[in-house]
């Protein structure tokens, strides 16, 4: 159970966690869009520049029957929840956020490798998600440095 420790929690650190929550919310929207695309079976045309269809229909888009985008949405939702709790002074939430975002970065790097080397097509929504995760990691790391 997360503990409430509101005292001496610096305002600037709180705002960093608010920024992290906003980033997580953008990531959640992106992941939800991809989840909806997957579940509804929507097709996107193949375009001269895009590779979304190749990535989203590849065997790597599903893990144990669960769409990868859905797992991403759950991760972003967790990051959002922990960031909000951290912004409200729940320090235990702040401590959990760092390993979560670290794991998300590792998964993003793996997915980037899959797109570049295995599927050989890039999906802009997946790249956006990777960018958000990196930005989230930087923000969370800054907040952790400030808070510790």
């Amino acid at each position: 159970m997360v503990s409430v420790e509101n005292t001496d929690f610096r305002t600037s650190t709180k705002w960093i966690y608010v920024v992290a929550a906003v980033l997580a919310l953008v990531g959640l929207t992106d992941a939800l869009y991809l989840t909806i695309q997957h579940l509804s079976g929507s097709s996107v045309p193949c375009s001269v520049t895009g590779g979304c269809e190749e990535v989203l229909t590849s065997s790597y888009a599903v893990l144990a029957g669960i769409p990868l985008a859905g797992i991403g949405a759950a991760a972003y939702f967790s990051a959002f929840s922990l960031s909000i709790l951290a912004a409200f002074g729940y320090r235990s939430a702040a401590k959990l956020l760092l390993p979560l975002v670290g794991t998300m970065v590792l998964v993003s790097v793996w997915l980037f490798y899959l797109q570049a080397a295995v599927i050989r097509a890039f999906c802009q929504f997946c790249l956006l998600s990777a960018g958000i995760t990196i930005a989230l990691a930087i923000v969370v790391f800054l907040a952790w440095k400030k808070g510790s």
């Binding site: 929507s42 193949c46 229909t57």
Partner: protein, 237 residues
Amino acid sequence: MKRLLPFIIILGVLGVAVGAVVYMSRPKTLGNSPASAANSTAQARPSPAPTLGPVKTGVPGADPPHTLGPATAPVRIEEFGDFECPPCGAFHPILKQMRQEYGDKLFITFRENPLPIHDHAIPAASAAEAAGMQGKFWEMHALIFEHQNDWKLAFDVRPIFEGYAKQIGLDVERFKHDSTSDRVEQRIFLDGKRARSLGVNSTPTVFINDREVPFQLLPPETLRVLIDNELRAASQK
């Protein structure tokens, strides 16, 4: 209240997220839907909006084009396709179904538009064109689309296409020679030139009577409405 606020925010976001997924995940695939023949009365069909784009003529493509149906048919459907593109593979049975339903009222043309993002799109287009030189373009076209998942991840697709050539009774040696011929290359180039002149930059791009069909109107139920509209317009002339 302040203690509850973060939990209210979190629950609010969770509610919106779950609601969005549930509401927007209703199936709307490009593939066939069960509501095909049963909904085929004109009155029961919704009117698609927006409808077709403006009339575009563009430069001619490869001549003669690969066509099905009588040239005098009231509805001319021209598809710019890429054999490796999954939505083109999904559109293949839809067009087949339309042909079964409308028969000689349709004049269907297939134009090669292999996209540079697909490794095997040009070999696939070349195989179809080479089969066309022995009069079996549509047989090869069907095989390549129907087995898209069997070859799209293969390292070397040539033996697979040669297998298809054998399967449809082509002279395989001639097929192998034609696949790399200047004539086949020229046909793909000319179809691509026509695609660019019409502003085609994605596949499948479909034109009905020279007017582009928005991608979201390619599922069978909306495509039927568009064909019916054209048939109605033709009968009023």
